[in-house]
């Protein structure tokens, strides 16, 4: 039996100048708890520029999540609320609330390269 595919989910969010702290706080408080409840494991969080807050320019924030296997990926994707309804409206509401603070964002699904690093 082979191990399930280790799937990484990378969020990359470009915050408007001076908004990085607000984006971080919103993501931590209003997105991350739900993601964890859907089975996503937070692996890392990074930022650019490194190690400093510069209010005059945009900042890029990264969050790297993981799920185990295709089943784990679909579990977070097809999640339901406690009442059984689709959770997509809540997810969309979060991203729409974040939009005024950001310039752009990406979400990419990643796996290890074949043949190793």
């Amino acid at each position: 039996m082979t191990d399930p595919l280790h799937v990484l989910i990378l969020d990359e969010i470009e915050a408007k100048p001076g908004m990085a702290a607000a984006v971080r706080e919103a993501y931590r408080d209003h997105y991350a708890p739900g993601a964890k409840a859907r089975g996503m494991k937070l692996e890392h969080a990074w930022q650019h520029p490194p190690a400093i807050e510069i209010a005059e320019i945009p900042a890029t924030l990264f969050w790297l999540w993981s799920v185990e296997g295709e089943h784990g990926w679909w579990k977070q994707r097809l999640s339901h609320k406690a009442d059984g309804s689709d959770e997509r409206e809540d997810k969309l509401a979060f991203w729409q609330s974040l939009a005024p603070l950001t310039i752009s964002r990406k979400r990419r699904m990643l796996t290890d390269q074949p043949g190793g690093a």
């Binding site: 799937v7 295709e70 994707r77 409206e89 997810k91 969309l92 991203w95 964002r105 979400r107 699904m109």
Partner: protein, 216 residues
């Protein structure tokens, strides 16, 4: 060829008459002009979303003959009495962008969806192009069609009909869902967590058993 596809949801009190309704529809269609093929089957018991109870899929020579069938006296006298209490989700489309099966699939599945009104046309085009990658990388898809609706009826508008045929339902629930082309590329347009999200969350996914290929 032009397809008119309808999903019928019977009122609770009429679910017991499912087979009577299906038999009646088969007989009624024989009285309609210009129907080339007719499939009336119960919706499969798993892997469906908003699909109702009965799939009714007619193939006509053209959109004009499909319209003529709905204007025929038999439509009013024989068809409407059978479906007048059912909730109907329907879509008409030209079956032009397709690949037909070389073998004999046993399962037909369709996903009916529409893009949100503000959707960027470039993203809609991307969604179509990426969806078309699925048959290449999922050999369990024996036949497929991805076509735009000419008309639709029901609770929400339908813009696209993405239909496939498989040898069995495991082809849909296994390889189709597991391919990274699906979860790593195509699904972003359906996923509210992704900035590419453009597909209305109200989907219709319908699965039925078929005696022979219907994507022709």
């Amino acid at each position: 060829m032009f397809v008119s596809l309808r999903m019928l949801t019977l009122p609770h009190a009429r679910i017991g008459s499912l087979h009577t309704v299906m038999g009646g529809l088969r007989k009624a269609v024989a009285q309609l002009p210009g129907v080339v093929e007719n499939l009336v089957v119960p919706v499969y018991h798993t892997a469906t979303i908003n699909a109702g109870h009965i799939v009714w899929r007619m193939v006509h020579e053209s959109e004009a003959t499909a319209n003529a069938a709905m204007l025929a006296p038999a439509w009013r006298s024989a068809v409407l009495p059978l479906i007048d209490t059912a909730e109907v989700t329907g879509v008409g489309y030209r079956l032009t962008r397709k690949t037909c099966a070389s073998a004999k699939p046993a399962i037909w599945r369709a996903l009916l969806f529409s893009c949100l009104p503000h959707a960027d046309p470039a993203l809609v085009h991307e969604l179509e192009q990426r969806t078309l990658l699925l048959p290449k990388y999922v050999p369990e898809i024996r036949a497929w069609g991805l076509n735009r609706a000419a008309w639709s009826e029901g609770r929400k508008p339908i813009e696209f009909v993405w239909e496939q045929e498989f040898d069995d339902v495991a082809g849909l629930t296994g390889p189709y869902m597991d391919t990274p082309v699906h979860w790593g590329l195509v699904d972003a347009y359906f996923d509210a967590d992704c900035p590419e999200f453009i597909v209305d969350p109200h989907l219709v996914q319908v699965v039925v058993a078929i005696p022979e290929s219907v994507i022709r």
